[in-house]
């Protein structure tokens, strides 16, 4: 906790727990994420990382504890409300709109932008057409940033694996979030792609004033990317700190770094 009279942290978890039947997926996890941070989340398989994302995006409710967004409790809000508050996410096992084109995937996510009026949509007025082509421009621009512009008219299901991961990011960005939750964005990428992704995420954070929370198995990538990391093991927060602190933490070495090597 900072003793200063500064504004509330962007995101704050207070004693978050989640049970599934008899399984304790998360127990009493607390941490804060500050505005503009890149925050890493690591831990072995089944440590509760994705469950935590599901809680942060409103997909599953917490069993106990509260999550605060800019100082306000977000209890019982639906996933769409979470998004409207400024939290967007990607999915570990990719949930693109596979029946739509790459461009349409991003256009769908631009739904909160002014569309040019309902009546205009009905009459296909020039105002509506102009507005829609502006939206397409905006979508293309996002695709450009993620290096997907040349594939804009392909069906999303036809993309290569790494491109699909980037499209998920473009789609999430289109909802203009303040906080972006990335669930294993580098999974399935080769080392060169991972390197590029790292640079890209840093750029995106700058350009879109983002705060990032990243789940990743590839620990070196997170060590390089993040200012701070949290380590989960069996649903418990076992360490929290800078990459250097985490690397030296004996519990982390015991539970994660040591165990998995």
């Amino acid at each position: 906790m900072s003793g200063q009279a500064s504004a509330a942290p962007l995101l704050e978890l207070r004693q978050i727990s989640r049970q599934f039947g008899g399984l304790q997926a998360l127990s009493e996890v607390s941490f804060q994420v500050e505005q503009g941070e890149i925050f890493g989340l690591i831990g072995p398989n089944g440590a509760g990382k994705t469950t935590l994302f599901n809680l942060l995006s409103g997909v599953t409710p917490a069993s106990n504890g509260t999550i605060h967004w800019r100082g306000q409790a977000m209890q019982g809000l639906s996933p769409d409300r979470h998004n409207r508050l400024g939290i967007a996410r990607t999915f570990q096992n990719l949930r693109l709109f596979t029946g739509l084109s790459v461009l349409e995937n991003v256009l769908v996510a631009l739904h909160r932008q002014p569309q040019g009026g309902k009546l205009d949509a009905l009459l296909n007025s020039s105002r509506f057409r102009r507005r829609q082509s502006e939206l397409r421009e905006r979508a293309l621009q996002l695709l450009e940033e993620l290096g997907l512009a040349d594939q804009a008219h392909r069906q999303a299901s036809g993309l290569a694996y790494g491109d699909r991961r980037r499209l998920e990011i473009a789609r999430a960005l289109a909802t203009a979030p303040a906080l972006l939750l990335l669930d294993e964005p580098a999974a399935g990428m080769n080392p060169r792609e991972k390197e590029q992704l790292c640079e890209l995420l840093a750029q995106l954070r700058q350009r879109h004033q983002l705060t990032l929370v990243v789940i990743e198995h590839h620990v070196p990538l997170l060590m390089q990317l993040c200012q701070r990391l949290a380590v989960l093991d069996f649903g418990r927060l076992i360490a929290l700190g800078t990459p250097e602190q985490i690397q030296r933490d004996p519990r982390v070495i015991e539970a994660y770094l040591g165990g998995s090597r």
């Binding site: 769409d80 999915f91 709109f97 739509l100 769908v108 829609q132 789609r171």
Partner: protein, 287 residues
């Protein structure tokens, strides 16, 4: 070979196909089209046979009935859709089957709907079937325009997204319940006003008009025609209404054939007749 009478039925079939297609375009299976069709038809039959028996009715009166039927079916759809559409998709399928049964039993048992025999002598706004062709054809054209605009709009895109992945849509901030409800309401209104036209055209109306069989045939329209564009159900509705009439000898096999379409269609030709690839070849550019 296709006379005006058959043409009217084909167009009505296309309209009902569109009614089934709307929720499906948002990933929902609604089997309630016959229920709303029956509500619309019964309303028209009741209103237009009040007072002195007449054989003619003004077109304005029919339009008024359509307006009323639209309001009534929208209200009913809201009542059913609000609690159900928050739940998993399977619940809508079950609830809409239930609605068809409730409406059927109600029309059969209410004291003023004529029981099993139904209501007779529903007055005609047109002297000849050709009038109905023009009228229902105009309605179909308007619907075509609306659907075309829908697919180019935010609502249409949101529906397509929900169909592909409802949870991802919610995480993109789409109010999925509202989108699904809108599609369901529009589907109900379309079936209701189609029922009004059908009641006048058929001259008589009873509980069987809204039986479960209608759900099967209209579903077959969408599966055969294809559910990736509004043209699919229109083509499916036109074709499958015309076919059994043209192939009279088929007779009892009609429902077996429709059953086979919805049994085998999703397995062997999941895109139907009107595929996205075909549309592209026809030169319609999809943004």
């Amino acid at each position: 070979m296709i006379d005006n009478g058959l043409l009217v039925q084909m167009i009505l079939g296309a309209l009902l196909g569109l009614s089934v297609y709307l929720p499906m375009a948002a990933g929902q299976l609604s089997l309630a089209t016959p229920a709303f069709y029956a509500v619309g038809g019964t309303l028209a039959a009741l209103l237009s046979t009040q007072g002195n028996a007449q054989s003619a009715i003004s077109l304005w009166a029919v339009l008024g009935e359509m307006l009323l039927a639209g309001c009534l079916t929208a209200g009913l759809a809201l009542l059913v859709g609000l609690p159900v559409l928050r739940l998993r998709g399977i619940y809508l399928a079950i609830a809409t089957i239930a609605l068809v049964e409730i409406v059927r039993v109600a029309i059969l048992n209410l004291p003023f709907t004529g029981g099993a025999a139904g209501i007779f002598g529903i007055p005609q706004p047109f002297q000849k079937p050709f009038g109905y062709v023009l009228f229902s054809g105009a309605l179909l054209a308007v619907c075509g325009w609306l659907f075309q605009r829908l697919e180019a709009s935010r609502l249409g895109r949101s529906m397509a997204a929900i169909r592909d992945d409802e949870l991802a849509s919610r995480c993109m901030g789409i109010h999925t319940t509202r989108v699904k409800l809108t599609a369901f309401l529009a589907s109900a209104v379309l079936a209701g006003i189609t029922g009004v036209i059908a009641a006048h055209y058929l001259n008589t109306w009873n509980a069987r008009q809204g039986s479960f069989d209608v759900a099967i045939t209209t579903l077959a329209f969408v599966i055969l025609g294809g559910s990736r564009s509004w043209l699919g159900p229109v083509i499916g509705g036109l074709l499958l209404t015309a076919l059994p009439e043209l192939l009279r000898p088929v007779g009892d096999l009609r429902l077996v054939l429709f059953g086979l379409v919805i049994l085998l269609g999703p397995v062997f030709f999941p895109q139907g007749l009107i595929t996205p690839a075909l549309l592209e070849r026809l030169g319609r550019w999809k943004p």
